[in-house]
Symmetry: C2
Subunit: 455 residues, 2 copies
Amino acid sequence: MIKQTKTLTLLLPRWIATAVPGEPLLESQGVLVRDGLICEMAAQDEMRWRYPDAERIELADHLLIPGLVNLHAHAAMALLRGVGDDLPLHSWLQDRIWPLERELVSESFVYDGSLLAAIEMLQGGITTVNDMYFFPEQAISAMRAAGIRVCAGLIVIDFPSAYANDADDYLRKGMALRDRWLDDPGVSFCLAPHAPYTVSDLALQQVAVLSAELALPVHIHLHETAFEVEESLRLHGLRPLQRLAKLGLLGPDLIAVHAVHLNETDIAMMAAAAAHVAHCPHSNLKLASGFAPVAAFLESGINVGLGTDGAASNNRLDLLAEAATAARLAKAVAGDASAFAAPQVLHALTLGGATALGLQDRIGSIELGKEADLVAIDMAGLGCSPCVDPLSHLIYVCGREQVSDVWIRGEPVVRMRQPVSIALHELRDRLRSRLPLWQNQLVSQLNRLNRQTVV
Amino acid sequence: MIKQTKTLTLLLPRWIATAVPGEPLLESQGVLVRDGLICEMAAQDEMRWRYPDAERIELADHLLIPGLVNLHAHAAMALLRGVGDDLPLHSWLQDRIWPLERELVSESFVYDGSLLAAIEMLQGGITTVNDMYFFPEQAISAMRAAGIRVCAGLIVIDFPSAYANDADDYLRKGMALRDRWLDDPGVSFCLAPHAPYTVSDLALQQVAVLSAELALPVHIHLHETAFEVEESLRLHGLRPLQRLAKLGLLGPDLIAVHAVHLNETDIAMMAAAAAHVAHCPHSNLKLASGFAPVAAFLESGINVGLGTDGAASNNRLDLLAEAATAARLAKAVAGDASAFAAPQVLHALTLGGATALGLQDRIGSIELGKEADLVAIDMAGLGCSPCVDPLSHLIYVCGREQVSDVWIRGEPVVRMRQPVSIALHELRDRLRSRLPLWQNQLVSQLNRLNRQTVV
């Protein structure tokens, strides 16, 4: 459950980037937080005078931004960080990820891995994560204990796993899970069919029906590789997006993860349907999947968010770094150094992700009445000097180590770069005591695989 | 002058990546440093017992690597950080960089800008920088005061500047400068004709003669944009690299900066000549220059180093971040997730750069007899867990904030993430007092430019 802040808190940052489209950077404005909500914004001098009893948070060298929304993650895979680096894609998947998942994935693996990811993400300014993995209940438990907001993907895949047997079983378990967490406003849900090539037409149709009935977003890997598109054409006579459209899944609830290999027709279809893209540049580059045409998405009006993907293909759950890469890469891909400019990137980091998850009325921007998911970026260091545009520095200069403070619904989660709640300290200490066990299991499994396979 | 360490220092890192090609990661080995040189490496237990009086540096959770070599920088441009973000290339150059340089560049600008860059680079593990800018003497003075090694580019360009009037004047000033710094082993030199399109045939031929006579590397922007190649074909009937070959500049002394638009013939010519590439992926992406074919360079045997470029096109002088991008990007460009693997990237970060500068016998790897330019990376954090391959984590996980310790020729420069020498603290404090003046000048010049130009 999200705890409610009873007192007034007055944040006094040097600058505020609200992420409201078209709104300029604010300077010397204060943000008043009451009961977890942003209830007033005005000149700092006035706010100090009017609210003498509020807890004051002085952020004299800081840029305040909305909490970052990680629009695509497999949080638990933090425990598989770096297990298949520099391998060709098929070997990465077949010789590393799948065998390791078969041996290791369990309820405790997902709990500990999700907790590990949550702590890393919180310290990097991520306040909401859209997750997709096995045992989603354990992922929710771990991440809510840490305090991060979760959109839990109710995974569907045709293959059996330790978690479920077949598509029906996955869906049934997902629906039951959703019922159990309806009361926590820090949890939302989406349907998460893994990919068009791992889920049958029948199951995808069931997903479409449930999405429409329950107003749930659909989170799916889509057009990640050229091979995926070719195989779909060979097997179904349709591109994956065309197949999803035929099955009733192309609409404003669709979150297309990766969206690397989209042609002009695909882009026009996505835009007309008001579907969303979760852009994961580090994963796309590292697995040699290709280059998503982000500038073309934005030109056509497609809403874009950013995702870290899992730590096995990234290997750092750092959305600010993802944003820096996305901003630079989009320019080279479009051949236009003005493409994906800093304000657009901030939107993708925050309100774009929130909109894809259907949470845009509650989070994603710094506006009156919204929940106070806020991140302060410390720009005092020499590395930020000189500074003629703090928003531009956020994207092209700042690293996540400059995230000094994080609030979720007004509750401080990170202060002075460290987890602030006793609960989070305890969780971290207990996790640290268990990590050597996972490390040992991982090494022993990798030794076994190395004996079996010639990579 | 580089100070000499008189005492014995024993570094005790958990792992060592020596950067010697083919050498595996070392575990639980110690490195003994005497008089600035690496004089012994053996098992830590044995070293502790044999050298009880040595100063011990315990690095229980650390990876020790050679100091990073930044193979292409315009250090002083740190004072122009972020002045032209998200502008098209021609506008970035013509409406921002050139007018600002005309108004602002002076001896004190270069001193302060180079010092700002040096402190940022040192804290990120860069121990050697190959620089190219106006007023190179001020750059050397600032950077040597901070303690970083400099290969000073003796800039040549056909256009007059506050520093010099014409190509002859640039060359004459460069030669005189070189004579004045011959006694500092922390300074080396290269000839730095700006680019084929800004230097005449005659001046390039003079550079070729001086390079051969004095055994100096030649540091030049080359094939950065498609437009540069097209214009050279139109004006000279030759691609820029062909023109340099004709003028006697294609050989083992050539450091081709950017090398984005090289075709197969260009690559074969570069490889046959044993020329070097300074790869600057962040700058190439951000200015929409394109994608350097790094995997093809490595396959053909071309030596590759990494550069940050200047802070106006990057905007963070962070070679570890450059390496992470280079590693990922090369995979997507080659369509092969095994391209530019972590050991190759470490080579590019260290020995590759040192080799391009002709310093490979003194620095660039952790080997007996080499100068002790060393960097410790702290891998204790949760973000590095689990860890099955520290070298892979260095490239795909670690950020420069994990650089805990830096030594140059055995002298500690950074300890526990902070500058360690009193001199460096004083330099930093004095720089901090001057930065508001530069900030004000920059803002006032930008306001003037904004009134003049419609961007």
